[in-house]
Symmetry: C2
Subunit: 413 residues, 2 copies
């Protein structure tokens, strides 16, 4: 699940309001309350001075802007005003709002990368992966059960799972917390792999005949982790935002084995939003095509390739971050295994979209609060049911933001 920035919650109170942010923003009266929340700071714009707030709290994938600017007009689309009138994209498909070209390019991209089995799988499009997660939970929850289905995930899980499951107080499903301590047969286990906290691979921890599993594979792409085999789960959810960067297009997709589940997911999206933006699907189909073409039919004038860029930049960033951590002497980072990536054919280290930073200095118990006093905004460990010694730092923001972060971090002792 992407879960950024808003499923982390513009509205979740952060432990310590950032009053200094308020000075940087202008808005309506009660927007002041929101402006005081770290994830409401303008990650959409880079820092303007050495003294600026560095906001790496959310996961806005603005790192990808420079790549797409480098691609020039290749990914551009022109849409005629009469193109998106009808509700229907494909009346021969029960997922009637799925644009056929979008579906073709998704299957083509998975085949190229080798990160998911698409043969004999239903493809369901959603308005971002968060809608698809809700659709999958709706589809897996019996409608005739007297008590809600339990939705669980292994700790450390993303704390926003809870409000996402419970914000409508559904009688069909409810958040039931840590999968590791869950007892019972009736459950849906969410498995986010690689983890959207620390980047490590995850597997389902529960096994039961009555249990169901949903795999959130938002980060199972070569830029973040070695591709070891094509994912082949009952329900696998992917998102455009973390695969190619276009979070603002609000698109995700699910690969689903079971017909009834795929139909019920379609029904959920039908009820929830009467389908999914055709314009976004047309745009992203074109961009997926550019990505696949760059590998299958490269053109000499522009040798840029998304996943090459997506490896190169994080390699450099993780190197810089580890140097800054070393220089500071008060932080530490997890070490990751290296494996052979079947897509690149090379041995590759895991390079998560987020750094799980730990403050080792005695007397500092809350890493995020300590960084906040230095105007570095991150997402504290307590958000994930982990120790506040840890904090999560986005690694996929713009260069200016990331460079200012490592520069400032290395100066902290």
């Amino acid at each position: 699940m992407a879960f950024f920035p808003q499923n982390e919650g513009l509205f979740c109170e952060s432990p310590k309001p950032i009053t200094l942010i308020a000075r940087h923003l202008h808005g309506r009266g009660t927007w002041l309350r929101i402006k005081r929340l770290s994830s409401a700071t303008p990650t959409a714009s880079p820092p303007t001075s050495k003294d600026s707030i560095v906001n790496l709290d959310a996961g806005d994938p603005t790192m990808y802007e420079s790549f797409w600017k480098g691609m020039g007009d290749q990914g551009a689309i022109t849409i005629s005003s009469w193109q998106t009138i009808s509700y229907f994209s494909d009346v021969t498909n029960f997922c009637w709002f799925l644009e056929p070209e979008f579906a073709r390019e998704i299957r083509r991209l998975h085949k190229l990368v080798g990160n998911a089995v698409t043969e004999d799988r239903y493809l369901i499009v959603g308005t971002g992966s968060s809608q698809l997660l809700q659709a999958a939970i709706y589809a897996l929850s019996p409608s005739d059960t007297p008590s809600p289905m339990n939705v669980v995930s292994a700790v450390p899980y993303y704390l926003t799972y809870a409000p996402l499951m419970d914000y409508l107080r559904s009688g069909l499903f409810r958040w039931a917390g840590d999968a590791c301590t869950f007892k019972g047969d009736a459950y849906i286990e969410l498995v986010c792999s690689p983890s959207n906290l620390d980047g490590f691979r995850r597997q389902a921890v529960l096994k039961s005949e009555g249990g169901k599993t949903i795999h959130d594979l938002a980060y199972y792409w070569p830029q973040y982790t070695p591709i070891t085999n094509p994912a082949d789960h009952d329900i696998s959810i992917f998102t455009v935002s973390k695969s190619i960067g276009h979070a603002g297009s609000r698109l995700g997709w699910a690969l689903v084995k079971d017909t009834a589940v795929a139909q019920k997911m379609t029904k959920f999206i039908d009820r929830s939003t009467i389908g999914v933006s055709k314009v976004s699907q047309i745009q992203v189909a074109k961009i997926f095509k550019v990505v696949s073409d760059s590998y299958e039919h490269p053109i000499p004038e522009n040798p840029n390739k998304l996943f090459d860029f997506g490896r190169r930049l994080p390699v450099d960033r993780w190197k810089k971050l580890r140097e800054a951590v070393k220089a500071s002497k008060i932080f530490s980072l997890p070490e990751f295994p290296s494996e052979t990536c079947k897509f690149t054919g090379e041995k590759a280290e895991t390079l998560p979209a987020f750094a799980w930073l730990k403050c080792e200095k005695e007397g500092i118990e809350d890493c995020a609060s300590f960084l906040r006093t230095h105007k570095i905004l991150t997402r504290g460990g307590s958000y994930f049911g982990a120790s506040p010694n840890y904090t999560r730092v986005s690694m996929i923001d713009r260069d200016e933001t990331f460079d200012l972060f490592t520069e400032r971090l290395s100066s902290l002792h």
Copy 2:
């Protein structure tokens, strides 16, 4: 509320399955079940022969295609691949996913048409008006109440209101049926005006201190009804699909008076889909601009104007329909009042997007079923809690479909 086609439910069983439709479609195994439902027939494509099925069951606004084709490149947009990376559209607005240009053009269009007060109103964008309706109900339902808030509407109401309120079995709100018979103080009344059944204006029937009202103004545009004054309600919901035709772009907007309600609606859309497609907003902002420019800065090369087209065509269609009804001698239609439209300055008749057709012939108790035997698909009165003598016919489909319909209708005796 638009509520077409999918909130009417691809999945709602129609009284009598249309097996003959199945021959026209090809799809996966269980899609056969869906193909048997009238609203699943391809309204996205016009009839191919005199003998074709005429599907006027849903409300696919394909009538507008010919207008936008006539506008040539004026409404076209080109979007660069790097344009929609960030989640954020406007970090100075608590509705952080609202594209400023889209907001500007909405306010400009309302000012031009005079159909809604926008000054000192919050503007919330949604993935179609159905998401906004759910957001508004969420916003108006107390989170600390022991029993769900009652959502009501005056009969005849659209039967899909019920599943839309209840599909998640929320503990916050529930469908409570007919507003006219509702007793109590705690309710949310949905007022769809003009009605999405018969085109008549509606007003709230309940009045209570504890009661709330949501106005669905999808059809309050000059092509359907005379504009008599700017709507000024606590919550007014509009949709792109019925105003300019672009149902496939999945956009709607709400004008909201109260800050806390607007924030809670934003929070719902944040949780539900983490915002709204930027690409759709960029496209529709451009199309709104073309519409407003055509009135405020007309160009001699292309004098076409959306609302002029939107009046001209329905005037012609309603004339043809009344002639067909007269020729058949077995049907009747409601008569509508004429009023001066403040937008056109002319006396104008109400020309609803749907015809509420009644079969007067003795022995025919189910009008929709009778028409179905003649391969005319409509939405029977029973869907609206009304007599099956009535059926609802879409007036906003393509010319070919509409002409075939009136031709066939006039031949029925």
